[in-house]
């Protein structure tokens, strides 16, 4: 079993289909993703791109164990995901910090939930705040921090419990472009330090290429499918701002965008119909 876990991929989705009751509540159903299968190797950085409403978050929720698929299944290190996936850390798109806890307490929360005494948890949270560049901000409450700082706290909060696989749902989409590139670089540095598996959801193709080892493309919803897979062979370490200028990057971008553009247009037509 232990050997199987060592060789098994960090994440494996097999034929995942998610069907929801239709929001208009007339008994019809809405299929967000259809028959999606992919694997993420240990230590691999994979991005999933797709147009708005293509069920990117749905896939991530299945991997996290927050959502049970209507069909198919998710495996994490060879173990079927039933209930919360204990190997996974999740960084949400929306604000997910507990507003009544200070930055330090928020970072320490995961350790506390795992039975670490409060004092020790706080002691260990301190260095993590420093690692995301927030030394001295420990006693601030989330509302006293800027959007970028809150994301840093969330990053430290996710990573402190040392998840084997990190799921990120457009974590930086709410940030301005400069802060965003800084955060992307910092994330890559942290990731390089101890290679966790990362599944990174984004609608920004440039971000996906700059960060990842592999980019997966989802078709427009409803019933999104995985329609493309691209290996990103750019050298590491990368600087997300500079790598965008290299011819290699531009070639990759052109290739993937050729496929993604049609889906984006389809997705846009869908939203207009709705």
């Amino acid at each position: 079993m232990a050997e199987a876990a060592a060789t098994a991929p960090a994440l494996c989705l097999e034929g995942v289909t998610c069907t929801f009751p239709s929001p208009d509540g007339r008994g019809r159903t809405y299929t967000a993703v259809q028959n999606a299968s992919f694997t993420v190797a240990a230590g691999e950085f994979v991005s999933i791109v797709g147009p708005t409403g293509s069920g990117k978050s749905t896939l991530l929720n299945v991997a996290a164990g927050l959502l049970r698929p209507s069909a198919g299944r998710a495996l994490s290190f060879g173990q079927p995901v039933t209930g919360i996936n204990p190997q996974a850390g999740y960084m949400f798109q929306a604000e997910a910090l507990m507003p009544w806890k200070s930055a330090l307490e928020n970072v320490a929360a995961g350790l506390e939930f795992r039975g670490v005494p409060k004092r020790e948890a706080l002691d260990r949270a301190g260095p993590w705040l420093a690692r995301v560049g927030l030394e001295g901000f420990g006693d601030r409450f989330p509302h006293q921090l800027s959007g970028g700082m809150r994301k840093r706290v969330a990053l430290a909060q996710t990573l402190i419990v040392d998840p084997k696989i990190v799921l990120m749902d457009e974590p930086f989409s709410a940030l301005d472009i400069q802060t965003r590139q800084m955060m992307e670089n910092e994330l890559l540095d942290l990731w390089a330090a101890d290679r966790k598996s990362v599944v990174f959801i984004t609608h920004d193709l440039e971000e996906a290429i700059a960060m990842s080892d592999r980019v997966l493309v989802l078709s427009a919803g409803p019933g999104s499918r995985l329609i493309g897979e691209y290996r990103i062979t750019l050298d590491r370490p990368r600087d997300v701002a500079e790598i965008r200028m290299t011819p290699q990057f531009l070639a990759l971008h052109k290739e993937i965008w050729g496929q993604l553009r049609d889906e984006v247009l389809k997705g846009y037509a869908q939203t207009k119909l709705r």
Binding site: Y90, E95, M98, W100, F141
Partner: protein, 266 residues
């Protein structure tokens, strides 16, 4: 703090103006009743007599006993009502079937003017403090109940999912997510809850008792002692303002994580 709104005068000046309003009110009262005799002092009292009576009551210590009784009733009503409200609020918010079934009855009971319960409570619990506490509890309970219910329901699903991903079990969720969220709602209704606890106590005393501020006012009324009635109201007002100040301090302490209005330097 700077703002684009019209600039207000500094704090001491505002305080001075506030005191001015009070003095002006007493002066007007004095002029109407004593100087011009437009209003009969028998029906309206005179400010000097009211102040003198109030001062005497405090000096002789006669009022302290009654004040203590009312305070005790208020505290008990607030404590019991809050604990019960939190417990039931949580239960209803976490058990949808219970909340759906009891919903019309909760609304019906809450719509009932609670004053009509006072004679029933006096009948059941006697004229001592407990009939007043019971009346106060029926008022406080619903405020806290609805706030806790709302607080538990309004927990952000993302915060909840995040806590679960970080490994929180249901006990952790209660302690670290549901309870703080619910308590923030309870604290924000603290002023109302304390106020209602006091209304319960005073109204209960007024309708039948042998001690308390409400009893004092009722007694004075029974013998057409207008000065006594106004003096009782004055004491009650001072008492309410004092309690409200304490509540504000407590609230600031407990809700320090809440966003305040935009502020620059402290």
């Amino acid at each position: 703090m700077r703002s684009h709104a019209k600039r207000l005068p500094s704090r001491p000046i505002i305080l001075l103006l506030q005191v001015g309003v009070l003095v002006g009110f007493f002066l007007l009262w004095h002029v109407l009743t004593v100087t011009t005799n437009l209003l009969s002092p028998f029906f309206f009292g005179t400010p000097l007599a009211v102040l003198e009576r109030t001062f005497k009551d405090f000096a002789s210590g006669a009022i302290w006993y009654h004040l203590g009784i009312t305070l005790l009733e208020t505290a008990l009503a607030f404590g019991i009502g809050t604990v019960a409200g939190i417990a039931f609020g949580f239960w209803f918010a976490r058990a949808p079937l219970v909340s759906v079934v009891f919903d019309p009855y909760i609304k019906a009971v809450n719509a009932l003017p609670r004053v009509v319960l006072a004679p029933i409570f006096a009948l059941w619990l006697g004229l001592g403090i407990w009939s007043k506490v019971a009346l106060g509890v029926t008022l406080v309970f619903f405020i806290v109940f609805f706030n806790v219910y709302q607080g538990v329901k309004e927990v952000s699903p993302v915060v909840l999912a995040n806590a679960r991903m970080l490994g929180a079990n249901s006990r952790d969720l209660f302690r670290h997510v549901y309870l703080p969220s619910a308590l923030s709602w309870v604290f924000s209704s603290l002023h109302t809850a304390v106020g209602f606890a006091m209304v319960g106590a005073v109204v209960g005393e007024y309708l039948g008792s042998s001690a308390g501020l409400g009893y004092r006012i009722h007694q004075a009324e029974g013998v057409f002692d207008t000065v006594g009635v106004f003096s009782g109201m004055l004491v009650l007002t001072i008492f309410v303002v004092a309690i409200d100040t304490v509540v504000t301090v407590v609230e600031k302490r407990l809700l320090h994580w809440r966003p305040q209005e935009a502020q620059t330097t402290h």
